[in-house]
Symmetry: C2
């Protein structure tokens, strides 16, 4: 046992990233086509090894993987959970630190070979335990949307309250009461009106545009009670 206590057995360490976006109100996930074995040519969550020589931490690894393998920059990222064991990767005992990301559709790169955006309900057959990781990320995003400002990261700039409510409804998969939705947003205290900016609304009267207060652009506003 002294031997095994001081010897570090070989473990593969990687990150996998579940990036969500909204495509016409439908919660969707980014997949990248694998360039190499195992599963060469198969669509998978963007992932890759930790590079100890260049990454400041695993979140930096996740950001690098997104940039180099999917052309995605500036997604909101948070750690989801770590998936481990001898069987999840045919190359050996592996640790995959999974991250969950959100990005507005307009910040995604132009369509390119090897990258696709699919509805979360129809991701196709994913390799490794990526199906499990996707389900865990979905559960996280739905649960956090009940209690936090997470969904604002689907917007690049400004939005109206009806647009924001629609996004919450798209994620939660159910209609929300307008009055209690607005009370909840007030309670979270993360939004501010953009002075003088209104969105002309066709048949409706113009709606005030809002944006996220600077303090909440990198961290979430949390609420004690759900929607």
């Amino acid at each position: 046992m002294n031997q095994s206590e001081t010897t570090h057995t070989h473990v593969l360490t990687s990150v996998d990233v579940v990036v969500f976006t909204l495509v016409e109100g439908v919660l969707s996930v980014v997949l990248a086509q694998r360039a190499r074995a195992p599963f060469a040519g198969v669509w998978a969550l963007p992932g890759g090894y930790i590079h100890a020589d260049e990454d400041a931490d695993a979140q930096a690894s996740a950001a690098r993987v997104l940039r180099t393998k999917a052309g995605i920059e500036n997604a909101y990222l948070e750690q989801l959970a770590t998936f481990t064991g001898p069987a999840r990767d045919p190359r050996g005992w592996s640790v995959a630190i999974a991250y969950c990301g959100l990005i507005p559709q307009e910040r995604l790169p132009a369509p390119r070979a090897g990258l696709k955006i699919v509805p979360v309900n129809a991701p196709g057959q994913l390799p490794f335990d990526h199906g499990l990781i996707l389900q865990a990320a979905l559960a996280r995003v739905r649960s956090k949307s009940q209690y936090s400002s997470l969904p604002v990261h689907f917007f690049a700039e400004t939005f109206t309250l009806p647009q924001l409510q629609q996004v919450y409804e798209g994620i939660l998969g159910e209609p929300l009461n307008k009055v209690s939705f607005r009370r909840k947003m007030d309670e979270l205290g993360m939004l501010e009106p953009v002075p003088g900016e209104m969105l002309a609304g066709g048949a409706h009267r113009p709606a005030q545009l809002h944006r996220v207060r600077p303090a909440f652009r990198q961290q979430l506003a949390l609420s004690v009670r759900g929607l």
Copy 2:
């Protein structure tokens, strides 16, 4: 880049475990004295390398580390978060998958050299980023105690509702209203009375003993609203 994409750079992979128990109502944490460098002789969270040749996953590594380094078996365990980077361990770029554990005091091993239980408010100076890991575990336990059955894992067998309320109060650090506490426990649906078992209560009338329903011994009951 092709080179670095296919080469796996060396990363140390370990688990660290924050085991909580209640000592006379005070939330406390298990520390083990490190046998080897770095930080030989220093009190730290029990931790150790993943053993790819014997561990089924990282939670099995955490259970093995607790058993071999602290003599602790059968703690309730859940994954907390993963701590990473080049600076947290002097031996190199490292990944520490942190677990949070709960155990009733009576299931802890007999006092022994190299093991101590200290109040969470006075853990002393901890090596690595163990202070940070402890704070993250505390935040998790306090938050989950608001919304779930987590605190029942501080009891070995049976308990009265006043005893359980006291435990919740000890973790949350504030008194709770008896009526709403009992409503919440009903809502969680995780408890059952033990037929015919009462606890004689000195000046008080005897109180019904409860236990956790079998379905909730390995998984948590969750509530949508906090206490």
